[in-house]
Symmetry: C2
Subunit: 128 residues, 2 copies
DNA sequence: CGTAGTCGATTACAGGTGTAGACATTGAGA
DNA sequence: TCTCAATGTCTACACCTGTAATCGACTACG
């Protein structure tokens, strides 16, 4: 099957900020996206437009004409993006072992009590 | 305190491959590093030398003169690098919640039975 | 003592990324 | 209908990254 964006086209950090806006609420116009992201990052409208174009080129976004302008919507689900990035990290740093990542976070004391409790609950759920 | 490489200077993917060799065994000469990494990545010696230089510039490596050449050693611990990258991911994708990352991996069925067992054991250990 | 090999440093160059201005088109209001 | 504002596209440019060739210095062998 013709896979569209398997992972070949990576989404950069700045681009992700744009995606986040659209993952939160879509479709949006370029202006709406800019309103949502530009202030926090100190971007101008032009910057947001560039990022939108690049994301369309990467097939991470799709456009639908709306009068004279475009409505942008994500083509990749946030969950898929998150999964891809997470797996990449686990592969690159922990030899593909998610448990390795956990062990490391634990050792680095990067797990809060809340984290532990939640993970515990999650495990219980999974084991059911 | 004058912090040397708090996180300002990121280590890129290719650079990490070089670091891995030195994390595994250090100090090493440029040639030894190349022997360890170049074949697997299809790199020439020149490429490895460039990466070593950049890592020294980024203060991720330090050099000790050994006759006419250098011995390279890591200045950043692998664990610290792993922690930094992991935290970055958790922040960027899961709002800083490590449990969120776990929940996501679970949902994406990216956790093997072995992972679950190991995490379980780890939790038990932590709770002790 | 000269010459070749070795080694770090310098330079190169294409592609990606962050950031943005300029330009062209077009629709809407005057 | 003419003009202005909005909107997408094109162009720009510096820095980072991947990948590597070349240069200059020094050492060791002949």
């Amino acid at each position: 099957m013709a896979d569209d964006n398997p992972q070949g086209e990576r989404i950069s950090e700045a681009e992700q900020a744009v995606m986040e806006a659209l993952w939160a609420r879509a479709p949006l116009t370029a202006n709406e996206v800019a309103d949502a992201v530009a202030p926090a990052r100190g971007w101008t409208l032009a910057t947001v437009k560039t990022l939108l174009s690049r994301l369309v080129a990467k097939q991470a976004l799709e456009t639908a004409p709306d009068g004279k302008r475009f409505l942008y919507s994500p083509r990749v689900a946030r969950a898929d993006f998150a999964t891809g990035e997470s797996k990449r990290l686990v592969d690159r740093l922990f030899g593909g072992s998610a448990a390795g990542l956990f062990a490391h976070l634990a050792e680095a004391e990067a797990l809060t009590d809340k984290d532990l409790t939640q993970i515990e609950a999650l495990l219980k759920e999974l084991r059911k």
